[in-house]
């Protein structure tokens, strides 16, 4: 059954919520300032709203209902306590501009979070304000540029990015007014060091890397990379999207990175919320500290206080948000770290890596081709379906859709771009062996089906609320809002 649009549920003039104030006051504003026609908002009862959105929610996959082995996304369990504690009234109703005296509880959490993140990454200072990974990247590259400019080195405008990098890396470089130079990858998954040597120079602002990379392998020559880039006068940016794989094992600071963002919504398990919010906190080594975005929390004795731009931080790249970033996400991450504690932090990398390597080996045994069969998996790994695509015309996309019918969310498909027909698979540490085994079973069944009955796989999904959607039509006949009176496209 399809669920109607909320606009199709109402009746003109229906007004039945207890939340609408009974008071209807006279307005003294000039008539010309006032709205003449009502906005297109639903006119439904509270009950119908509850029903509609409850039913819509049931049309989603989620961590709370399905295994979600989405590579690069670290879809681990989001502890419910993190949600309920971040939403305590004192935090929830706190105005962002409340004075410090009325904010000590909140500020203490943020201060400790800054400190804990520094100690988890080997950086010296953190700013919590970036609102997602991509904004952390923007902050990072902006800091790198500010650093060079501060030294009077205006010519450094190139950012090196591996071809396996996430799209946000090159996009960010552009937003920061830099030019992107792409770095090739070797067949073993490591960077081509000689290519790197050739690309660096006095124009190099820096390099953006994830390690382990989005190929699911650890860049073994990271020390060489750092030496080369630093040697050429550039700085190293760490894209922390894969921090989960090395949490408590390797400090990005020790690898030579000058600046890092962490996706708290990945490694620190704050929920993805169907697309956000996230948090892309940034950490830096000593060199970049003056440039950190503001505000930041500091302490004086027992008192926690804000450090904003201006005299305190004249070199700061400035603000990235109207207030201080996604506070609620930060509180959730704080609770998460306190729940796991030191031992728990160390276990994150251990068990996410164990799960990934187990899954990789078992899938290999089932007949799947690995992109990097000779490498250890980090917390994720890549299966390539090049052979299946060629022999049976069953693609990575077909596998992805077929998995949905088994009640599994699909792995990441077609990313990283350099591996053909790839599935990037990241089980995370919170999944049990039984779940992995069921997933392996489903993959094996689909593989068998792809051989004997590829058409069936290409028909998938059949158990979802809709069958495969026509993306071309969506783009060609752009329909991005409901217009009453439009013939419904169902007709």
């Amino acid at each position: 059954m399809t669920e109607p649009l909320v606009f199709e549920l109402g009746q003109p003039g229906r007004l039945s919520g207890a939340q609408v104030p009974r008071e209807d006051v006279e307005i003294s504003l000039p008539d010309a300032m006032l709205r003449k026609s009502a906005p297109l908002l639903p006119e439904i009862s509270e009950l119908d709203a509850v029903r509609h959105y409850t039913r819509l929610s049931q049309r989603n996959f989620s961590i709370d209902t399905q295994f979600y082995p989405l590579g690069s996304c670290t879809m681990k369990y989001n502890p419910r306590a993190c949600n309920s504690l971040a939403m305590l009234p004192g935090f929830l109703h706190r105005h962002p501009l409340a004075d410090e005296a009325s904010s000590q509880g909140f500020l203490e959490c943020l201060f400790e979070l800054q400190e804990m993140l520094a100690s988890l990454t080997g950086m010296t200072a953190f700013s919590l304000t970036p609102m997602a990974g991509a904004q952390g990247e923007l902050a990072g590259v902006a800091m790198i540029r500010a650093y060079h400019l501060d030294r009077g080195d205006a010519g450094r405008t190139e950012i090196l990015v591996p071809d396996a990098a996430h799209g946000t890396n090159p996009a960010t470089a552009t937003m920061c007014g830099c030019t992107v130079r792409e770095l090739p990858t070797q067949p073993d998954g490591d960077l081509e060091i000689h290519a790197l040597r050739k690309l660096v120079g006095p124009q190099t602002a820096g390099i953006m890397l994830t390690n382990p990379s989005t190929l699911g392998v650890f860049e073994r020559r990271i020390k060489d990379v750092a030496e080369i880039v630093h040697g050429a006068g550039g700085l190293l940016y760490y894209d922390g999207a894969n921090l989960n794989a090395i949490l408590g094992k390797v400090f990005p600071g020790d690898m030579g990175f000058d600046v890092i963002h962490i996706n708290l919504h990945k490694t620190f398990s704050t929920p993805h919320g169907g697309g956000g919010p996230g948090s892309g906190v940034v950490g830096v080594g000593k060199r970049l500290e003056p440039f950190l975005p503001t505000p930041i929390v500091d302490r004086r004795g027992d008192h926690f206080h804000w450090v904003d731009g201006g005299a305190d931080r004249p070199k700061s790249i400035g603000r990235l948000s109207a207030f201080m970033g996604n506070a609620g996400v930060l509180l959730r991450a704080y609770v998460y770290i306190r729940l796991l504690g030191r031992e728990g932090m160390e276990r994150v990398a251990d068990y996410s890596t164990l799960n990934a390597n187990y899954l990789m080996k078992e899938l290999e045994k089932m007949g799947f081709d690995l992109a990097f069969p000779d490498r250890r998996a980090s917390h994720e790994f890549i299966v390539t379906l090049k052979k299946q695509a060629k022999e049976n015309n069953v693609t990575a996309m077909d596998f992805a859709k077929a998995l949905l019918d088994y009640g599994f969310h699909s792995p990441t498909t077609y990313f990283p771009l350099l591996v053909p027909e790839c599935l990037l698979i990241e089980p995370t540490e919170t999944e049990s062996k039984e779940t992995l085994d069921r997933f392996i079973g489903a993959m094996a069944e689909i593989l068998a089906e792809a051989r004997v009955n590829p058409g069936r796989v290409k028909e998938a999904p059949i158990r979802m609320p809709v069958r495969r959607l026509d993306d071309v039509r969506a783009a060609r006949h752009l329909d991005v809002r409901y217009q009453p009176g439009d013939a419904s496209i169902d007709l």
């Binding site: 006051v25 908002l41 904004q135 902006a142 991005v480």
Partner: protein
């Protein structure tokens, strides 16, 4: 092990399957010299009960009785249903809806949201959210630069009556792309953008003009004049609006002769709690013709293989995961959960509910204006039509007054002095529908007492 399900048996058999002796062996590609030894700085784990107690104590410290702060974040009553539904696991713990067939819930919510925001702003297309109001404005400016092919200056007129934080965020985000922001002063008597000053740019090449409504002082700008000016001078008008106010006020799409082509703003008033400043969400809407330059995600309605209606992410070629260095923005993760809350919020209120709340906010603030104007020595800085905020000048330094009020659990306003040297001893005060008539009397009474006490203290 909190959240990790592995029994020793599980671990052993998995290691065996992999063919290693222990977990540590799985890290053997990492150079030894890089392996860190210990996590200083992370305390021992607490049980959920322990953390709960800690967080309850911290949160309690920050509770206040009454809050008259606004300045970009507004206290509204949020119907209980909004967050009871929004935090349902299926919304809360799902990823970006890349796999459309398994994400029809989220996708339809966003499609509904897009419809509501487009209509609320009087425009045609809304994206699926940006981070917050300030960064949405920065993105709107970058978009305007791409869109306004007729302009080559990359020069943006930024009124001083715009939220000062928005102004700095715009600079942080856009400056490295060679975009120049030029300040527009406000009239000292009205707090409105100075049209004469604007006219001084009539001959310059202006890429975009930013038009806040209401502006940072709560004052209603002459949006018709401003948008017509933009239209007449080859600049794109970009509206920065409070969506709650749009329940009552004329939408950007209807400003001036032709409306402005882009609107953006902070979505927080639509069902998102103050929550210390975030997560909120930025919205961005525009005319249909500009859709290919829109940053952020967009959901489209289409058909499935059986011809049934369904929803999917569309025009993804604008985005970083496809277009990479030539994307319209680097944004990936946005503020999906807040969009869900806002959609439910708007569904519960409907057009009439939204209008009434907006009207009530306005009326409450007018009441507040009356009450504080009656306090000796207090001056209403901008005596012109406003939405739900007002700047008031006190006869004594504000800090002492605020401190006295806070001791009674009342947050009395935001000091404007640090941002505006000409607005010393001035507070920006906000009364939404959450404030009763008695609250407003309480406020005025406390203000009077605090001013008197400060006066004595002098």
């Amino acid at each position: 092990m909190p959240f990790i399900p592995h029994t020793q048996d599980d671990t052993d058999s998995m290691l065996r399957a992999i063919g290693v002796n222990d977990i540590d062996e799985l890290f053997d590609e990492i150079p030894d010299s890089l392996r860190c030894t210990e996590l200083h700085g992370i305390p021992e784990a607490l049980s959920e009960g322990g953390v709960s107690r800690l967080m309850r104590q911290r949160a309690k410290q920050d509770e206040v009785e009454l809050n008259f702060l606004g300045a970009g974040a507004y206290e509204h009553h949020i119907p209980a249903a909004v967050w009871e539904l929004t935090t349902r696991g299926e919304f809360y713990s799902s990823y970006t809806p890349y796999q459309a067939e398994a994400s029809q819930g989220t996708l339809q919510v966003i499609y509904e949201y897009q419809t509501m925001m487009a209509s609320l702003t009087g425009l045609e297309v809304s994206n699926a959210s940006l981070y917050d109001g300030a960064s949405a404005l920065a993105e709107a400016i970058l978009m305007a630069v791409r869109v306004n092919r007729g302009s080559h200056s990359r020069r943006i007129l930024l009124p001083r009556s715009l939220h000062p934080h928005y102004r700095t965020v715009v600079r942080t985000i856009t400056s490295s792309q060679g975009i120049e922001t030029v300040d527009l002063p406000y009239e000292p008597n009205s707090g409105r953008t100075d049209l004469d000053a604007l006219d001084r740019h009539a001959d310059g090449d202006i890429t975009a003009l930013i038009i806040p409504q209401p502006n940072f002082f709560g004052v209603l700008e002459d949006v018709d004049a401003l948008s017509d000016w933009a239209l007449d001078h080859g600049a794109l008008g970009i509206a920065v609006v409070n969506p709650m106010a749009l329940g009552l006020l004329r939408p950007p799409g209807n400003w001036g002769r032709k409306g402005v082509p882009i609107a953006c703003g902070e979505g927080q008033p639509l069902g998102v709690p103050l929550s210390s400043g975030g997560a909120y969400f930025g919205f961005l809407t525009c005319r249909e013709g500009l859709v290919r330059q829109l940053p952020g995600r967009l959901v489209g309605r289409t058909l499935d293989a059986d011809g049934r209606t369904g929803f999917t992410l569309t025009l993804q070629a604008r985005e970083q995961h496809i277009r990479r260095s030539r994307a319209t923005s680097n944004i990936c993760t946005n503020q999906g959960l807040m969009v869900t809350a806002a959609t439910i919020f708007m569904s519960l209120l409907g057009p009439e509910g939204l209008r009434r709340i907006a009207a009530l906010c306005h009326a409450r603030t007018e009441l507040l204006v009356e009450a504080v104007a009656a306090v000796d020595g207090v001056e209403i800085v901008f005596p012109v039509p406003r939405f739900h905020e007002v700047a008031i000048r006190l006869p004594v330094p504000v800090n002492g007054v605020l401190e006295r009020m806070r001791e009674s659990g009342v947050l009395g306003g935001v000091c404007l002095g640090p941002w505006y040297s000409d607005l010393d001893n001035t507070l920006l005060v906000c009364a939404t529908e959450t404030k009763t008539e008695e609250d407003i009397e309480t406020y005025a009474g406390m203000l009077r007492a605090a001013i008197e006490a400060s006066g004595e203290g002098l």
